[in-house]
Symmetry: C2
Subunit: 395 residues, 2 copies
């Protein structure tokens, strides 16, 4: 049966990752799942916190009329108010429920935002490396993704972003803590970004939106705090979810938060986009759950311990990496001897039953992403395999 | 803040319905909600069945690892198998889980299908009147909606559809039981549609998909059964949900079913579209619920009684309507004296505190849609208001 050409082409392009995924399944079948060091997936293995389970059970037991039926497309008013309080705290602004649209995860939030703001051939600037789904998200809504190279150590490249700003720029898209690098952009970096975007807006009359995709906001280490965005730039939109911090990835619950300056038209457009993209509204029961869980924090201690274990493992194998400041990824440099061929290095790792994702998919050839959504023992147990892969590769 | 031009224009066009909705709220505030006969919304007021509550509570209490995390984008294998059995029964085919993609409601299913199959400027044929969201759904994915007039009594107009088929036709879209008319297309009508589509395919080499949007399939009366589609035409895709039959509209759970001939490429495209449109997967907990509820039937007896009450009410007011065979809508003809001005008639009804939706929004000027998702007493109590509105309108 025929399918859309764009979809067929895109499926062919994403076949490498699919192939890797299938090869991983084969490896597990052949060697046993416990023998394979699978660091390929960003799927939290921690269970949702006890407070979530209690809240879910309590709300499921309630027999309030209409509690599984439609509500306004923007979401339950009480959920929007609760998340406005949370976003206000995190982003150093004072917003209320009118500035929140409940969404079907952060992926839903991103698509709703792009649908609401993009005119045909509008440009969205992103700094490499970046979450690979941004490409289809922007293309879905007729936009063009403009990729700029990173600054050293994968910081945001403010100069490159400034040079890329045009009158077609609808938005600059950032992701901090970053997938795949684990970098958290500093307050100064966000301020510098806001500065160039404000200057550009004043000059051209078009202020690009700053879209902050931040499902990993709470997953930071060493007492760090992800710097706020809404207070830094008035035309900011935050897309986020409970997929990573509360391990609810399968339930598809998130929200969009806009700054206090954002008035009716933008919020109306976000609500309209939620409706016509077929989301209609974020899943009802999960809206009610997360509205009560705004004070529950992610279990970062577990991830912090894994991060240490992973760093030791890579250190012992003599592999370089970017110091992970947040999220649950460690971005590892392909050894110099490999001439930066991340696919080849990933293949070599696979022979030692280690699964990672080549950086090329994120726009960063020469690097490999490992996710530490696996228990600490697996990370520690992988040390000999990493050493052997490194040795073999050198040889 | 600027928004996309297409969104701004679309919001302006849908402002009539929004205005009506807001006026309805005003009326309720002024007169009391119990004094207003609100037949405007297709939001089931029946609670989900007891079996749903029991299943939800049991599954919520389970603490199975990973039960709120990611699963394959197509959905849980056991849910897909369960719904394949249900779809096989309903559509007189033998399909298995590979032919099912779990979706975020029927609206999500529709968007996923259109994303997967539409090339730019491809055409989707629909017979008037139709659910107004089809316009943005098709436009979202670069398609063009081709509207054809209905046959008498709002049956599918096979001749008009045949005349509209071109080499750009990617799909014919039907909705049975129909919103807004309540018509159920007969087996003969479906067969005639399949026949012209097969002939067209043989002639041009392009077989259009038949997309059957059928969230109301189970809501039929007088022992009727909605005729099957998957067995009637090999290139069929069913989009459906549990929003209407189990009153789970807010939970956004549904699925796509394809016929047995549909092989990997189409199913892969549907899964890919699910991922990149940002749905990622249908909400996890609700997938697990509906997988266990495939034998639970909608409570059609309640709707059947309301349908009778509504028919009597309109009969007594001397208003004509289309005999509703399914769904929970009754499509009422604007009295001849009104010269078919449905907006004026709706305004007159509003003076008598009756809320309905003008048929113009569905592509059927001269008609008004009333939804009987309200209790029978409200329908009965509205009789004097209908009579008065009719009288006033005549006068």
């Amino acid at each position: 049966m025929p399918v859309a050409r764009a979809i067929r082409d895109a499926m062919e392009n994403s076949s490498m990752i699919r192939k890797m995924f299938e090869e991983g399944l084969e490896l597990k079948k052949k060697h046993g799942a416990d023998k394979v060091f699978d660091f390929s997936l960003g799927n939290p293995d921690l269970e949702p916190p006890a407070e979530f389970r209690e809240t879910l059970l309590r709300l499921a037991a309630e027999e309030r009329a209409g509690s599984h039926g439609y509500m306004p497309n923007a979401g339950y008013p009480h959920a929007r108010e609760a998340l406005a309080r949370k976003a206000s705290r995190e982003h150093n602004v004072e917003i209320d429920g009118r500035h929140i649209v409940m969404s079907t995860g952060a992926a839903g939030a991103m698509n709703v935002i792009l649908k609401a703001i993009l005119n045909p051939d509008d440009e969205v600037i992103v700094c490499r490396p970046f979450f690979m789904e941004y490409r289809p998200y922007v293309a879905n809504h007729g936009g063009i993704l403009i990729e700029v190279p990173p600054a050293p150590r994968f910081d945001l490249n403010i100069d490159a972003i400034r040079d890329a700003l045009t009158e077609k720029t609808a938005a600059v898209l950032i992701n901090s803590p970053n997938n795949p690098t684990g970098r958290v952009y500093s307050e100064e970096t966000i301020a510098a970004l806001a500065d160039i975007m404000l200057r550009h807006g004043k000059k051209t009359g078009r202020f690009p939106y700053l879209i902050a995709d931040e499902p990993y906001r709470e997953l930071v280490y060493d007492g760090a705090v992800t710097p706020p965005v809404l207070c830094a730039y008035p035309h900011s939109l935050v897309a986020t979810s409970y997929s990573k911090n509360l391990s609810l990835a399968g339930e598809r619950i998130g929200y969009i938060a806009a700054g206090p300056q954002n008035k009716d038209t933008l919020m109306d457009a976000l609500v309209y986009a939620t409706r016509v993209l077929g989301y209609v509204n974020a899943p009802a029961l999960m809206q009610r759950c997360v509205a009560e869980l705004t004070d529950i924090k992610a279990n970062t201690a577990v991830y912090a311990a894994r991060r240490e274990a992973f760093k030791r493992t890579l250190d012992e194998a003599g592999l370089e990496y970017i110091e992970p400041e947040g999220a649950f990824y460690i971005f590892c440099k392909v050894p110099a001897e490999s001439r930066g061929d991340d696919a080849a290095f990933v293949n070599e790792l696979k022979k030692h039953l280690i699964l990672g994702v080549p950086g090329s998919g994120f726009g960063a050839p020469g690097w490999v992403r490992f996710a530490y959504c696996v228990n600490e023992e697996t990370i520690k147990a992988s040390a000999p395999a990493f050493k052997a892969a490194r040795g073999r590769f050198l040889g």
